[in-house]
């Protein structure tokens, strides 16, 4: 594997290999005081974030550091990006400066693919850390790792993704990956928050959350961004919350053992009740914890495969 840009077309064995490596890394590090493996010593990983992000950037940074890579963080505000340099020039500069891997978040869909194209000759790997409303593949992988931990194999498991599918890169990456892993995916959202063309996705679509809950193994809540609330996609936050929010009453409709996920940041009281977020069914903090291991595994598969030192 050279880049991780999308989960669309990511083969089942490749995805499973990453997830297995993540599990292994998690076991290896469990209970260790010093969480540092020498695997990527001497490798340079640059995170390039054109959008604000705390959890994803920090997660990648920790993943790189626990693997002993040199991690450099570039943010759009504090570099020549702010001076109007093109994405291409910035990327070529970072590659020339010696990056083995560029982890990019960008507001434009497809930006990570463009970057990979420009860097294809230099041998620099690209990881998509979220491009516009397109994909966020490591989020889907960490969600899958978390679900596997709670549920075991995902084949024939029924998983709902609830909320703003239209603008969600998390939803797109999850739809592809979960389908690849054999799960049944249900998208639950008002029609205004589903993309035209969703009919060709390997999913079923519902507008009735209550009807879906009793048959689910997991429910993945999506954040509703403030600009959507004012963008006329639905009448009001209150009406949205009433129809699509996961409150305590709805939690009771889930079968025993079902899992609640949220990619964060959460709007407590909006798409997810505060008590629900903290309930035993919730795996939200595990998602964050697994995020580090999954990103370590991704870096391992991208960078350590060809002669890199193995830990």
């Amino acid at each position: 594997m050279k880049h991780l840009l999308t989960t669309d077309g990511l083969a089942e064995d490749a995805a499973t290999a990453i997830l297995d490596t993540a599990d292994e890394l998690k076991r290896t590090l469990l209970g260790r005081e010093v969480k540092k493996l020498p695997t990527l010593r001497g490798r340079t990983v640059i995170t390039m974030f054109y959008e604000n992000s705390t959890r994803t950037r920090v997660s990648f940074e920790i993943a790189g550091k626990w693997m002993s890579a040199d991690v450099v963080n570039v943010s759009a505000g504090g570099s020549s990006v702010g001076k109007g340099e093109s994405l291409r020039d910035t990327a070529l500069t970072l590659a020339a400066a010696g990056a083995d891997c560029v982890i990019v978040r960008h507001p434009a869909s497809g930006a990570a693919h463009r970057l990979a194209g420009w860097l294809s000759e230099g041998g620099t790997s690209v990881v998509n850390a979220g491009d516009g409303t397109h994909e966020h593949p490591t989020q889907a992988l960490l969600d899958a790792a978390t679900l596997r931990e709670r549920l075991g194999a995902l084949k024939d498991r029924r998983i709902a993704i609830v909320g703003d599918v239209l603008h969600s890169r998390v939803a797109r990456s999850n739809v592809h990956l979960l389908a690849t892993l054999g799960a049944e995916v249900v998208l639950v959202a008002p029609p205004t928050l589903l993309p035209v063309g969703v009919g060709s996705w390997p999913v079923t679509v519902s507008h009735d959350l209550d009807a879906e809950l009793p048959a689910l193994d997991a429910v993945m809540m999506l954040r509703v961004q403030a600009e959507r609330m004012h963008g006329g996609f639905f009448p009001s936050a209150r009406e949205y919350s009433i129809a699509y929010g996961l409150n305590e009453a709805r939690l009771g409709l889930l079968p025993e053992g079902a899992v609640v996920l949220h990619p964060g940041p959460m709007l407590r009281g909006m798409e997810i009740g505060s008590a629900v977020a903290d309930a035993p069914q919730s795996a939200i903090t595990e998602q964050v914890r697994n995020g580090v291991h999954v990103r370590m595994a991704v870096l391992y598969h991208l960078l350590a495969g060809d002669g890199g030192e193995r830990g």
Partner: protein, 432 residues
């Protein structure tokens, strides 16, 4: 006396080869092959049975001058036109400064004359600065030496229905045509790609077909009540064809164009992530492309227009959302029409003459273009080798910019020669 003999050409690709004798800018005689004896100084073009057509007329070209001479000039764009078989082009108004007054349109017209490779007709803006707020001085532009006959805010829709009504009403006194870029802006906020399966998967904000269709329907109704002529730029959706069929059935005076790229390319190109494929209106679905071809064949869509839109490398070699929309078209239009319409049998060469020369000349009211191939007519001609093929290379095109979506494609039909009023403007891929 400037004499040219085109020896052994098949008019409209029909019948036996004939000799066409051109003198003093007009077709002097047309006779049996070998029957014409040219004067000693006459230039002879051996056609060897190639297809002779009236010179092409493009209602929709961006020549970028003034303002973006780093991407195209009237000089380079005229060369591209001549090489593409065009004898008249309409230069869109979205220059910098905008062609919304007599000074700018006269400048464009004059530069076109100086270059002399193709008749450059400036299109006037409908509204001041293309802002959609206030009518531009259409009358002054129409009566200027440029004699503006076509008005458009292309690149922007005249979205305000009242302003569009006034523009249509006002145009009737001037005998000019308003050409609408049909795109309801409220339906295309942030839009990046044709709204459908592929854009959904790639996370591009959708560009709904309804944004085009709703404006076309509205404007047909407005034109009907105003008794005005309306032209629809770059039709791209099945629904627009339905609306045009309905409007024409009612006798509404509406005409429409389709671009070569909407006859060939689909939103499958999105998978490349390469903004060379970004264009406004966007590349649509396969079913839309099929419908464009049929509508052009049966006349619901009147003509082909290139929407030739040169862009600098830095405006294309970037992420999709940051890229400017548009693609080169002048030198590839004939080949795309040959590939999509002639090869599948949807149009013969007489049909090509209709959609690339006669109808556009009629729509714009050009008296000396799109004329029959007959003695006494102006010698605005293009000789086409229908059997030759060529491979598109952006860097080899005459435009300053190189943003062709057909890079590396092998296409049929080559322009052998173009004549503007009896003067050779291009021959065998070289400027006159």
């Amino acid at each position: 006396m400037n004499e040219i003999v085109i020896r052994g050409a098949r008019l409209y690709g029909e019948g036996d080869p004939v000799d066409v004798h051109v003198a003093d800018g007009t077709i002097a005689t047309i006779g049996e092959a070998g029957a014409v004896t040219p004067g000693e100084d006459a230039e002879v073009i051996e056609a060897r049975g190639q297809v002779l057509l009236p010179g092409f007329v493009d209602l929709h070209t961006h020549l970028r001058e003034p303002g973006r001479e780093d991407t195209e000039t009237i000089d380079s764009g005229s060369a591209a036109a001549a090489l593409g078989g065009y004898t008249a082009v309409f230069a869109m108004a979205n220059t910098d400064p905008v062609a919304d007054n007599a000074v700018v349109v006269e400048h464009v017209w004059r530069r076109g004359r100086e270059v002399g490779l193709v008749d450059v007709h400036p299109v006037g803006a409908v509204t001041v600065g293309l802002k959609g707020e206030k009518l531009a001085e259409m009358g002054t532009m129409a009566k200027s030496v440029a004699g503006v006959r076509l008005f458009s805010d292309d690149g922007h829709c005249v979205a305000d229905p009242l302003l569009m009504r006034r523009a249509l009403e006002y145009s009737t006194a001037l005998g000019v045509v308003v050409a609408q870029h049909a795109e309801e802006p409220r339906l295309t906020v942030g839009a990046q790609a044709h709204e459908g399966e592929r854009a959904a998967r790639l996370g591009y904000t959708g560009w709904p077909s309804s944004a085009e269709e709703s404006i076309v329907a509205r404007d047909c109704v407005l034109a009907r009540h105003a008794g005005a002529r309306l032209h629809i730029c770059h039709v791209s959706t099945t629904g627009t064809v339905d609306v045009l069929g309905w409007a024409k059935g009612l006798g509404i005076d509406v005409s429409a164009e389709v671009t070569p790229h909407h006859l060939l390319l689909t939103d499958e190109r999105l998978a490349t992530y390469d903004p060379v494929n970004k264009v406004n209106p966007p590349l649509r679905a396969g079913a839309d492309v099929e419908r464009m071809r049929r509508a052009l064949a049966d006349g619901v869509i009147d003509c082909v227009a290139t929407d030739h839109a040169p862009h600098a490398v830095q405006d294309k070699d970037c992420e999709w959302a940051a890229a400017r929309p548009g693609m080169l078209g002048l030198q590839t239009a004939l080949s795309i029409v040959a590939e999509t319409m002639v090869r599948p049998g949807l149009l013969d060469w007489r049909g090509v003459a209709r959609v690339m020369s006669e109808r556009p000349a009629e729509i714009a009211g050009l008296p000396d273009q799109g004329r029959p191939l007959a003695a006494g007519e102006p010698a605005n001609l293009v000789l086409v080798d229908p059997d030759a093929e060529w491979t598109v290379r952006g860097a080899e095109l005459a435009s300053v910019a190189a943003n062709t979506p057909y890079e590396g494609m092998r296409l049929p039909a080559v322009v052998s020669a173009t004549l503007l009023r009896g003067r050779i403007t291009s021959r065998e891929g070289k400027i006159g």
